[in-house]
Symmetry: C2
Amino acid sequence: MSHPSGPAGPAFGQTVSQAAPLLRVLSGETREKPPLWMMRQAGRYLPEYRALREKAGSFLDLCYDPEKAAEVTLQPIRRFGFDAAILFSDILVVPDALGQRVRFLEGEGPQLDPLTPETGLAPLAGELDAERLAPVYETVRMVRAALPPQVALIGFAGAPWTVASYMVAGRSTPDQAPARLFAYTHPVLFGALVDRLVDATASHLLRQVEAGAQVLQIFESFAGALPPPLFRRWSLEPVSRIVSRIRARYPAIPVIVFARGAGAGVEELAQSGIADGVGLDWTIDPWRASDAIQVHRPVQGNLDPLALVAGGDVLARAVDDIRAALGGGPHVFNLGHGILPQTPIAHVEQLVARVRG
Amino acid sequence: MSHPSGPAGPAFGQTVSQAAPLLRVLSGETREKPPLWMMRQAGRYLPEYRALREKAGSFLDLCYDPEKAAEVTLQPIRRFGFDAAILFSDILVVPDALGQRVRFLEGEGPQLDPLTPETGLAPLAGELDAERLAPVYETVRMVRAALPPQVALIGFAGAPWTVASYMVAGRSTPDQAPARLFAYTHPVLFGALVDRLVDATASHLLRQVEAGAQVLQIFESFAGALPPPLFRRWSLEPVSRIVSRIRARYPAIPVIVFARGAGAGVEELAQSGIADGVGLDWTIDPWRASDAIQVHRPVQGNLDPLALVAGGDVLARAVDDIRAALGGGPHVFNLGHGILPQTPIAHVEQLVARVRG
């Protein structure tokens, strides 16, 4: 696989041998020290994030403010020298830019005006409001311009099932019961919603690439509650359609798919060839992943975020176990889920030293 | 495996060929029509349950009232003719009988006074308060006396990890983060808590057998958030010790272990030989379970409770798929999680007809 050559940014025209470590691993290279970044690395555990967040209005305001969002994206790179920056944004900018009202209330999860069998897709626009999302792409451009060439920039979006589960329930729900029931009882309408999200998500990701994202990650955060036939129909299949559209336009841009809680479904994902990189949550046995997943695709993961909160020997042992299991093949070191707000900075420093030391 | 011969109840002295269908399947028999029961089958979806519940005081009061608890246990048997009754009780009677304050507030989950690194195990008694639990065993006796011989009576308890996660957090928590962190940072103290629970749980289950329970089910409801090494240490290992104690005393009493969300861990459980029957949650592919689990042990499951809420063609197809995948070996038909309160009675009737028809 040749190096991702996005239409913008300093990576353009590079070959794999010159590329950032993350890109090299996603192209299949095994490295003695794995590239390292952390999901939700721009977040509340950082005092500099909390300081900026206080002055930034609502969470969505921050997502749509290129200066501030770029600054937040860069904070963990400056502090820890991670191998990748991930755009500071949210998976719910897609429903927001489709015209569904999205609010982030302090101390609560996101709230949306739910779609129902009665409303159907009427509250939604046919496609993304490009103007609404322009600041996101501007953020990507600013971050890429500010990053050193060895640090890859990751764009992202939520997978249709995960985003649809918010759009139907209006909030985060245990086991996504409202969306699952909706999909059972109104499969045609739910399919139309997923189709709309496939279009919108592919378009959103393509624009991130055009602005300078060199890697894309698709978050299927709620894969865990889907029975296997529904996982295939509502997760693998639409994600596959999104990736096909990206490959058709930018064949060299690698796509990581992180299907949290999918268990055996992650092995299916790896075998399917849909993803260039396969994210592993913290419940997956890295030894099993080495046999059943990493033989097919480069993997990314999978430290328990609570082992990082614990620190000390617990953290050291957990890091070493993952390295021992996955170090023999292409591996991006990451957490198995987003970093928790209570994580001590010193433990992140310990993680970086352990992975690189 | 010979038939379970409990020390009490009409099953005593029976051979497998005379035994209830559930017992026959758990001893390894493949039946053309699988025995059928539903987790949480005595519950809010039943109008007769709701009527009795209104008059019963607190939820724990109901658990400790043998007349009412026996009545509730029998309600779904009368209405649907299921192949098994499961004692109406709760996994938190164990911490309650160890002296930890447990409350069930209407419309909220259970609340306990959390154990902390500072309190240690000081708030707990060394062993179960037998007097506190006497009504539970009385319920078992009453139910067994009222049941026809072809209907098996299941006793149950929570697995130590699941119960400990409530005892540490004081409530249900996403991904059991407080208990997981406690286990990382205070492994010796957490191990002592698990040891206490192994003793208490084994004792509680043995007393249920002595009162007439013919099958035991251990609920590891929160298996899903444990990384594999912690799953082995805090789930498989203590559950194995509990089962060993039951086998030492009553070798013929089958034990079903239901480790919800354990994914690949369920395959390890099946291979380990710890359980006589392996519960499958609704996210496990029944075809894969046929190859990787049912070859080792009889299986139980695994209809998505929301497919039962949906009813109609969705339900019919889901039932048929599970039967097609698991019908060639020993299989107990069940849901993959507890029945939901909003489930229409007519859909349960449809389920019964479909499984038996």
